[in-house]
């Protein structure tokens, strides 16, 4: 599988999907105009990755400083894919990274952790 790297813009995070390092990393803000279209290749990549690649350790890091409500739904759908893979035997660690002063990022992480209690989901203070 190929690495997919999408550089950050004003409205979207830096996205790194690296099958060799087994690392999935999103860093930045997320409030694009057309969230679902923008992230479609990312979700597709993830689905393929968990289908093709072995079930060894995969790390997922999300450090999202701000996201709009449609991105909130999108990340939910992303975790849904990840949880499915987990249920099929993939070893996955999710790190939700937030700044201690960013209350809403912390709260959002807690909410996702609640929603996906099957996942190995860690809140990591920066």
């Amino acid at each position: 599988m190929d690495t997919l790297h999408i550089e950050a813009t004003k409205f979207t995070p830096d996205i790194l999907l690296d099958p060799e390092e087994r690392l999935i990393r999103l860093v930045g803000k997320s409030y694009p105009e057309n969230t679902f279209d923008f992230y479609a290749p990312v979700l597709e990549w993830l689905q393929n990755y968990f289908e093709i690649e072995s079930s060894e350790d995969t790390t997922i890091e999300l450090e999202i400083l701000y996201f709009n409500s449609s991105s909130s739904k999108l990340f939910f759908d992303l975790f849904d894919i990840v949880e499915d893979a987990h249920n099929r035997g993939h070893k996955i660690e999710v790190k939700w990274i937030y700044d201690v002063e960013n209350e809403s990022a912390e709260e959002a992480g807690e909410d996702y952790k609640d929603d996906f209690e099957m996942l190995n989901f860690h809140l990591v203070e920066k």
Partner: protein, 200 residues
């Protein structure tokens, strides 16, 4: 001397006739309402980005607490992306961007001691009923209920469509300290002006 005076008077009356509005009046109305940011016109994603920067910078300059700045920014973004998605006056410009006619204000209410974010756009008469039901439902909820409702709607995707998750109003209500203040103002037979104020 007399000639000059006469000419000045003439040019003044000519310019008065050509102008349709007194901008200073508009400026004073905004100022007297505590509004320090306003925009009326076509809103695209890039316009939204620029406006967000200006609002954030202004609030930081006023030494507003970070958490309030973040909440104002979040509500502003949801409002503008709603306008972009739902305004009746929507088009695609020559740069292939969506742009919608809308109005946005941000200000501080001395009376309430709170910041507010307001938006306005024209909507279809047919959407008034479902929109007011949605907003009333959200306004009847406590913060705890709102959080549960948000998570339930996010999970189900019931309100989702191709351009959004349908979570914007709940997101705004979660950030607000008062119920969402909304009004439908009659304008045309088949459309209404929808205005929404959120207090932080």
């Amino acid at each position: 001397m007399f000639e000059t005076l006469k000419m000045e008077q003439n040019s003044q009356s000519v310019s008065k006739q050509n102008e349709t509005v007194d901008l200073l009046d508009i400026k004073n109305v905004l100022k007297n309402s505590g509004i320090f940011f306003s925009f009326n016109g076509y809103i695209s994603q890039n316009v939204l980005g620029g406006m967000g920067d200006v609002i954030e910078a202004k609030l930081l300059e006023l030494n507003v607490d970070n958490s309030i700045v973040n909440r104002v920014f979040a509500v502003f973004t949801e409002q503008m992306q709603n306008v972009m998605n739902y305004s009746k006056q929507k088009s695609i410009n020559n740069r292939d961007e969506y742009e919608s006619l809308g109005i946005s204000v941000v200000g501080f209410s001395e009376q309430k001691g709170k910041y507010f974010i307001g938006s306005g756009n024209f909507i279809d008469e047919n959407d008034v009923k479902s929109l007011s039901e949605k907003l009333d439902k959200i306004n009847s909820m406590s913060q705890t209920d709102l959080k549960k409702y948000y998570k339930a709607m996010r999970r189900s995707g019931d309100e989702a469509h191709h351009r959004g998750a349908g979570l914007g109003f709940i997101e705004m209500a979660k950030r607000a300290t008062e119920p969402l203040l909304y009004r439908f103002i009659p304008s045309d037979q088949d459309e209404k002006f929808f205005q929404l104020f959120v207090y932080i």
